[in-house]
Amino acid sequence: MHPLRSETAVLAIPHLGGVALLVCYHHEWWDGSGYPDGLSGHEIPIGARVLRLADTVAALGENRPNRPARSAEEIREVVVDGYAVEFGPDVTDAYLGLADRRRIADYYAPTFYRGLMSAAEELLPPEISPLSGDQLLEILSALIDAKDPYTAGHSRRVAILSVATAHRMGLDDDMLRTVWAAAYLHDLGKLSVPLRVLAKNGPLTEDDLHAVQLHASVGVSILESIPSVRHLSPGSRYHHAGTGAATLRGSGATTSRCSRSCSR
């Protein structure tokens, strides 16, 4: 039941309680035949029904491995069929009104992401305790670990060992905090490795190996693109340096050595 799994993950993210509710109910249907709780009509939050419709429309418009994208007419038919069944009259009318007046703006990623960060401004309180950041690190690492059943709890253990090592080396508090967070995220890029490779029983092909080795740089390019977490990226990039995945150099060396020697 992925809405419940997602809800649990989102609920754990501080300050996103209202979001978790929508995630939980985004597969409920107006006629009561959806999941997970079989809610019907206005029992379902209107936002969850907006998501249901938008999810359907977006999915039908995409090429998938098992079928091509549907035409605008076919999508409209599906939405109309869902009027009193899946989405409810209010949400269906709003969408059809927009679509028929050709008022739906094209998706453009940079604009969307800017809007998303403004939405964060709307949802997050003015002051956020460092504990919320720690909680978010914990959630991210839980997702990373969920991807690979053989390494459950790995990220947290690496963080604990790395900080202990860094402390022993006499590093200052700022550095300890960086080592702590970088170690939690050192496998961030693992989320982009296909599960069939991670869980493979037997020898890896050349392509498989490439996917695994790429993971450190996927994680790092994400961290590097975000100013407020950019300082964590060297620890992620170089944590396999020496095993051939990347070359060790620069100021991240210390962070990286701490997480590398503890992740073996």
Binding site: H2, P3, R5, S6, E7, T8, A9, V10, I13, P14, L16, G18, V19, L22, V23, H26, G47, V50, L51, A54, D55, V57, A58, P65, N66, V91, A94, G97, L98, A105, Y107, A109, F112, G115, L116, M117, A119, A120, E121, E122, L123, L124, P126, I128, S129, G133, L136, L143, A146, L185, G189, L191, L195, I222, L223, S225, I226, P227, S228, V229
Partner: protein, 93 residues
């Protein structure tokens, strides 16, 4: 936009949130823009319905985080319609 003073707890938090969203995008090629395009469409429908700014913000985040629970499920669950999965996998999805 989010507070840019890099040392604030808020900026760090928002940065981690952004990393989570970006990493969701790398999980499967064809899903790269799915969550964001759901969010984009949701916001426009919500505006048409006259929902509040806060509701719209919640919708956008729900769209990009909605499939977070899929991480770690069998990959065929990402690629096939629910009806075509074997019963055990379907229950997990």
């Amino acid at each position: 936009m989010v507070d840019v003073s890099l040392n604030s707890g808020r900026a760090f938090y928002a940065g981690l949130l952004e990393a989570l969203i970006q990493v969701m995008g790398t999980a499967k090629d064809y899903l790269f823009d799915h969550g964001p395009s759901v969010g984009h469409l949701s916001r426009q429908i919500a505006t048409e319905l006259g929902l509040t700014e806060r509701s719209k913000a919640e919708l956008m985040f729900a769209a990009v985080l909605g499939d977070v629970g899929m991480i770690g499920l069998a990959e065929d669950a990402w690629e096939n319609p629910v009806a075509e999965l074997d019963p055990e996998t379907r229950a997990r999805v």
